[in-house]
Subunit: 695 residues, 2 copies
Amino acid sequence: MSNFVVAGNPKSTSMYKCWLKYYKLENKKLSGEYKNLLKSIVIKENTAITQSAVNELKRGLAGILGIRPEISEEPAKPAFLMLGTLSGNKSIAGLLGREKQNLGEEGFIIKLLTENEQKQLLVAGKTDRGLLYGVFSLLRLIQTGTGLDGLPRIENPVNQLRMVNHWDNMDRSIERGYAGKSIFYKNNKITGNLARISDYARMLASVGINAIAINNVNVHKFETLLITDRYIKDAAKLNEIFRSYGIKLFLSINFASPLSTGELFTADPLDKEVRKWWKNRAEFIYAYMPDFGGFLVKADSEGRPGPFTYGRTHADGANMLAEALKPHGGLVIWRCFVYNCLQDWRDRTIDRAKAAYDHFMPLDGAFAENVLLQIKNGPMDFQVREPVSPLIGGLEKTNQVLELQTTQEYTGQQKHLCYLVPMWKEVLDFDTCAKGRGTSVKKIISREVFKNKYGGFATVTNIGDDTNWTGHQMAQANTFGYARLAWDPELTSEEIAESWIRLTYSNDRILVDTIKDMLLGSWRTYENYTSPLGIGWMVNPNHHYGPNVDGYEYDKWGTYHRADHKGIGVDRNVRNGTGYAGQYHKEVARLYENVETCPEELLLFFHYIPYDYRLKSGETLIQYIYNTHFEGVEQAEELKRKWESLKDKVEEDVFGHVMERLEGQITHSKEWRDIINTYFFRKTGIPDELGRKIY
Amino acid sequence: MSNFVVAGNPKSTSMYKCWLKYYKLENKKLSGEYKNLLKSIVIKENTAITQSAVNELKRGLAGILGIRPEISEEPAKPAFLMLGTLSGNKSIAGLLGREKQNLGEEGFIIKLLTENEQKQLLVAGKTDRGLLYGVFSLLRLIQTGTGLDGLPRIENPVNQLRMVNHWDNMDRSIERGYAGKSIFYKNNKITGNLARISDYARMLASVGINAIAINNVNVHKFETLLITDRYIKDAAKLNEIFRSYGIKLFLSINFASPLSTGELFTADPLDKEVRKWWKNRAEFIYAYMPDFGGFLVKADSEGRPGPFTYGRTHADGANMLAEALKPHGGLVIWRCFVYNCLQDWRDRTIDRAKAAYDHFMPLDGAFAENVLLQIKNGPMDFQVREPVSPLIGGLEKTNQVLELQTTQEYTGQQKHLCYLVPMWKEVLDFDTCAKGRGTSVKKIISREVFKNKYGGFATVTNIGDDTNWTGHQMAQANTFGYARLAWDPELTSEEIAESWIRLTYSNDRILVDTIKDMLLGSWRTYENYTSPLGIGWMVNPNHHYGPNVDGYEYDKWGTYHRADHKGIGVDRNVRNGTGYAGQYHKEVARLYENVETCPEELLLFFHYIPYDYRLKSGETLIQYIYNTHFEGVEQAEELKRKWESLKDKVEEDVFGHVMERLEGQITHSKEWRDIINTYFFRKTGIPDELGRKIY
């Protein structure tokens, strides 16, 4: 396989602080205004979370404004910052008008009050979690050089659960990790650097993350024991850290735990002893972590155990766990990534894309109240381009979590720049037509449409123990962007990018615009030089890095492009294909089924298309493949030129690090271009109209 | 990647004894004759090796004839077996006539003398090693039911060095091992089961092996220390075992040892300190093993260190080691597997096939007297079909060792039946035309042609700690066959197969003929359903098992088929190709360069051929590909039918074991057939003339 070593030292420490860099604000006027307003901080409450908020304020204001405000219970003259919660400080209600009715459980308000020439900046939440989010929001306002004109600002998170999933193993490895080793484990022990984990919790809370699953959904031998004596005390230590930042701790569990621990001879979810086992287990866990979040479960998927072993349904399995957690307020998050991973490539009647819907739609309404189904955004597996899973918009009576992937498994593995927010925005804005036009994914996930009890966002995180957390420093924009979208899916890709750039680098207008350009085009650039028009999977098996057109073509994974010398693509029509398109509501199905109306970026996902087919641009399919692949490399080269232009505006080690990654990306994008183009040229014999070099 | 689990328990103990099974001879007449002759054994010498010989005789005669002969120094009446050596027992010379001049250093004679009605069967060698080989030969004669009519039998091994190379690592893994873990190591220690290793030494000696390298040519961290205090005493223990069976122990060494051990700052072969380091090291080793064989070296190959680092040649490197070993009589075996493993697949001017010749031909004559170059049989890497390396027949003034591969890396990994002797025979019989017609490979290796001081055979062994040693029981035939060929390359594939079958199973005529059929056709069967006409490499990268047509096509390893929609193959002509064919002597070069005269089984190795090209059979190339792939599967199915017919003639566990392997082979051969055929059908659009199923 191709091994392209991409350098660029991710151990350089200046990138460690991410978007909480708190560098000195250069705008002197604004800086002066804020300094005057923030010399004194008043807070009358004292919880772990309010302490986190105050500490963050001190840290932030020291860095950005160079001040060390007094903390007291009494207002100072002529100005002060007031922090408080509706639930913990009665006077706060008085300072708010009808605004307080608009504050949700995790909401906050930032408001400027002036009375008797005394200026009071109020940051308040309904709860201490809201207050913490308010403080982080205020620090962002200041750092990005935003004035006070926009106040009052009231924000409530749109989504209830805003979660990150770690695929960390206790041997310190991370499945699909591209930023070093786990920050939590080593040698099958929880031996994380607690100071670093606390920094991580700050980082998550700063952008509104409120839940974390700390171990891989593929639960191996030692990880199975996280819910036992062996590890529970150490897990509780992590829980304490996350608790102080308003983050609930979840554990991925092994469905076969009663068996694997050697305590029972079955894991049948309808077996009385098994149910009792899990109830006892839940009581045990909650004794150590009274605010434990619950279980994340991958069952009957890719070789993991599950209820199928006992002839039971996913609902039987999930509900059994739900029953055990319910008395404690815990949740079961049950993944829908279930498919036949032993498919015969010769068999065209099976379609992996249909699997999640086929498995879970019949169970809609059968799950307990505290079960959430976690659904990957697409029907396959985090490809660079996929349609939206038809389960979203299909399920009505089921709590749903949208699963995104921040770790760049199929999108460049943090060696390539690929800002994923525009992709996620397309997913969120996709109209499922579940209740007629306008039933977008984001409205379903936010529970606006079906009013489910629970819902939210989860992502497979891109975090590891590289000093810069994410391997490629710019991949921090995805960590940040995911969380911001989970908080408010109406934010635009541009807004999120701009905010991340200002917090991470500087408020320099040229720098902001240049990096924004780089980020916003990067997904399309990556798509251009990799697999075309939604067909996906042209990667090396197992590690999924680098081009291999037939890498998954003759394999058992259900991932085929079916290219021959005349055309390429998979017919997924109801009439003459696999029937996948029929899983959508009829307005959507009609769109996809018709070659003319099918969005071209998904053309090969839904149809087998001859190479001489003319796209709307007038190009033939084959010429489109050639063009995009040449273009993609040019765009990668353009990324480097843009970055070069910022040499004097970026810290030297950051500049060098990103530059080396970008150079690696150029080299590797050529490998993609040449292998894909050569593959299709050799297969079709059709030359490039522009006579460019194909091998 | 495709994972075909092939069952068939290689732990079953009845296969442990291999061809030294010593089962009861059913032929009563012959059995009686032998019994009468062998009641008493006379031997007047006592060395570790003569003890091995006597012990083997006792073991063998007890099993085959059910007798326990007396051992004494005095002849018995009326018949006895006389064992002795020319060097150790003066009376032996008297019993031999002019025959003694025909006995080489390792030769033996088996002769029947009758005097005064006293029958004396004489087994004698010039040395105790020769005697040991004579004893094993006698036991084979008896076990296979051969009478005494063929006596006297004088044999001398045709090749001097008859070696096995273990690619065993000290962590117990075996590179390219398909029969379990190492028999020598565990947890980075030499902790082999000494009784088993002794059995292994017997097994090797029984077929004339006289040298062994016990560690992988890729010498890692711990293995580097085999020549140090840390391990030398344990290595000496193994040496003692092998010594008692006439086998010289070699170690693979790390060229950078002076550096890697932390003792020097360079490994430059022309550096005085480095030369001194190796001299001291050699003295150290010989203090523990006075008969140590020497070093096996993989240098400047696939990332291994070597003289290139210091701007020195392979001759500089090898001669430096040779100088250190010379005072002790040690040899340096230097591998020629040197090529650029970072090739750009786009670059058609480089040809890996040329590498060994390009590197080593200019050094012909530059190597010290005790250096041997070890040359793989083909220019690439043990593919199912390759031409012979042009280095053999090229080099004249250099000691040469032919390297074969018994472990079935590219030939079915001991999951598929593939009897390799016919392939090796083709290599040995190949006419290099080095000194005009008739200069076959075997004559060069045996030193007949160039009269080099040293020469011989080496093989990468297929032995592991599976109870049956080789994973697939029938792969024992390759272990056996390699050794027999090394002893005498004139033996035919049929003779070797017949002998192995009789020793391993029984003398039943139907059984012998059926298994012989199975063995003799198996290489061609495997070739039929895998990559066609010498092009090779259509395997999954890294592990090399299972079909993947483009698996190595866009990679850095120099292994390309260059298939497009019109044709496939690599032009290796001098005029319009890579020039590889020009490395042969002109008669051979002319043959390969011309499409008309190029042997068809190597057609795609030497030429790019259009799919509609007509082969001598009248089939087009594409139809030939389809036909052979359908045929290969049918032949695999035929193997099973043949084996089934032997159900009552084979032990039950052996029958079941082989049957399961054969069934796995059928399943996997279909995977090969379908993927290869589908690949070419999709690429060409040319249908099978017989309308068979292609996907």
